[in-house]
Symmetry: C2
Subunit: 324 residues, 2 copies
């Protein structure tokens, strides 16, 4: 590793002089400045941010906890986090916990030991440890815990839009497939809003639940087989992710249904999946850019000791394609 | 932030004693050890790895450079890197450069300034800077540069398998759609192997090239429209990614082709996309787990100053589904 001492030797000045040039302090001749900068350039010297970090107690790192990156929704989320963190001069450290609470605990300790400036928590498995005290500014995405500022996608809006659209398209026998989120503090408002809207319009709707294993494996054929077996008359499905929606399309097409004439399908998220099915899938777009930008901005405010809102809700958008 | 001094005060011992307990040095009574550990536990104290890092000149961080995470292939790749880095007690810092060579340069400097232990480079845009000297151990994935150890997926094997399969299935008019990789040092061996195999079997094959913009946008309709317009007699397509393959399926189905009866399609990567189309797509699986594990192991060896192989090639697997 090239040190400040190497630079001083190369430039023929003292270490103190190099330090003064770097911090632009004290009277310095242009010749000295040039000699030092030339030496730095030639040696490929860069200041050590780790040494500086100790002084200001900050590594300029955001730690991001997600369940995993195999699901395109989280891949796209991490993409946005990297972008906005970089925009704000922060580096992004990624931890994929796959619902392993022991790994989650280890990761949080690692972040503390490494002077990570703030944590963005976008998983669902957080235990009491997280709530009891993580000693670092934190923001939570699509979840709520006592006292931690939350950024939520407007699930009530999304559920309502999906129901209104399917009913307006003529559906009279609906099925909704969604995850049961035991560890969510709040009830799943997306499902609630969808069902409320169905009830308001007197359209029956059956709900089927997926498991965490299905989510991790991205394999829903078991529950989807049950849905098709038990509901020969259904004419519309609201799936709580594009992946579930795409697998419903596969099941429907393999059973000979015509989409959208005989069955209509609405996904959720607007990941790349919904563009790539045939026909392309109608879905509810989560505004990931805005969710991520708001999460990063809020975390920056917390780090700077500013007041932040307890909950910020981000609007969704309904994307009509050709499955409805 | 809780310091070692707070622990000492709480336990009623000196800072030196706390330090000796933490490093398990010198004679210590069980009572003293317990008092210190209790105080650490109660205060939520964790050692500062950043201070330690300065001493050993290592932050235990791997820096990963990728083009972006919107493409599921890279999402899945980062997932594996996070897993193997964590297994080896390293943290993962992610940089998505989207082919912006200025950002890439900034990121490499950031890594150096932050004592990142090693870099894994899995993008394609690297300029001379990277080759001239990055002053950090580095491994390159799916690319080659002078002197940097490379982990390559066996593209010759993949291209050959795809050609043999399509020809065995009866295709006599093939099209291959792939990216032109100007900044690759090596020629695109996947395309080369596919064409060589076609020639050996006297099956004609036309090649169409995608652009970097299409890759970034994941939108290939322009070139795919051209392929279908110019080749009414084609009976098989080898697409160099599942995303291109899925968009070929959309085009074929919207034009009334039956898959696989009238046209056969083979994708590449075996991302989640190939499971989610209807029919599910035949594809060539890149062994991401093995690529990533090898890259991390090789980087660890470099960090430890061991000799490593210049090039390591990882086998692919042919996954037959229902588009062929």
């Amino acid at each position: 590793m090239i040190t400040i001492k190497d630079v001083a030797n190369k430039a023929g000045v003292s270490v103190t002089t190099v330090s003064r040039v770097m911090n632009n302090r004290g009277p310095l001749s242009e010749a000295t400045k040039k000699a030092v900068h030339d030496a730095m350039e030639e040696l490929g010297y860069l200041p050590n941010d780790v040494a500086r970090a100790l002084g200001k107690n900050s590594m300029n790192i955001i730690g991001l906890i997600i369940p995993g990156l195999k699901h395109p929704f989280f891949g796209e989320m991490v993409h946005e986090f990297e972008y906005y963190a970089h925009e704000r001069d922060y580096k992004l450290m990624v931890f994929a916990t796959e619902y392993d609470t022991e790994k989650e605990k280890r990761c949080i300790n690692l972040m503390r030991r490494n002077m990570v400036d703030g944590i963005i928590y976008a998983s669902h498995s957080v235990g009491e440890d997280f709530q009891k005290g993580i000693h670092i500014p934190a923001v939570i995405v699509e979840n709520e815990f006592n006292g931690i500022p939350a950024i939520l996608s407007d699930n009530v809006q999304g559920g309502t839009m999906a129901a209104r659209h399917l009913i307006a398209r003529g559906c009279r026998n609906l099925v909704h497939i969604t995850g049961r989120r035991k560890q969510y503090v709040r009830p799943d408002s997306r499902t609630g809003a969808f069902l409320a809207e169905c009830e308001r319009s007197h359209v029956p709707c059956k709900v089927y639940y997926t498991t965490r294993d299905m989510f991790v494996q991205m394999e829903y054929s078991e529950v989807i087989g049950q849905v098709f077996g038990e509901n020969p008359d259904m004419d519309g499905i609201f799936a709580s992710s594009d992946i579930i929606g795409a697998q419903c399309m596969q099941a429907a097409l393999s059973l000979g249904y015509r989409i959208p004439e005989q069955i209509k399908i609405v996904g959720y998220d607007d990941t790349c999946i919904s563009h790539l099915t045939y026909p392309p899938m109608t879905t509810v777009r989560q505004n990931l850019k805005e969710i991520v930008r708001t999460a990063v901005d809020t975390l920056m405010d917390l780090i700077e000791g500013k007041e932040v809102e307890a909950v910020q809700k981000i609007s969704v958008a309904f994307i009509e394609r050709r499955t409805t």
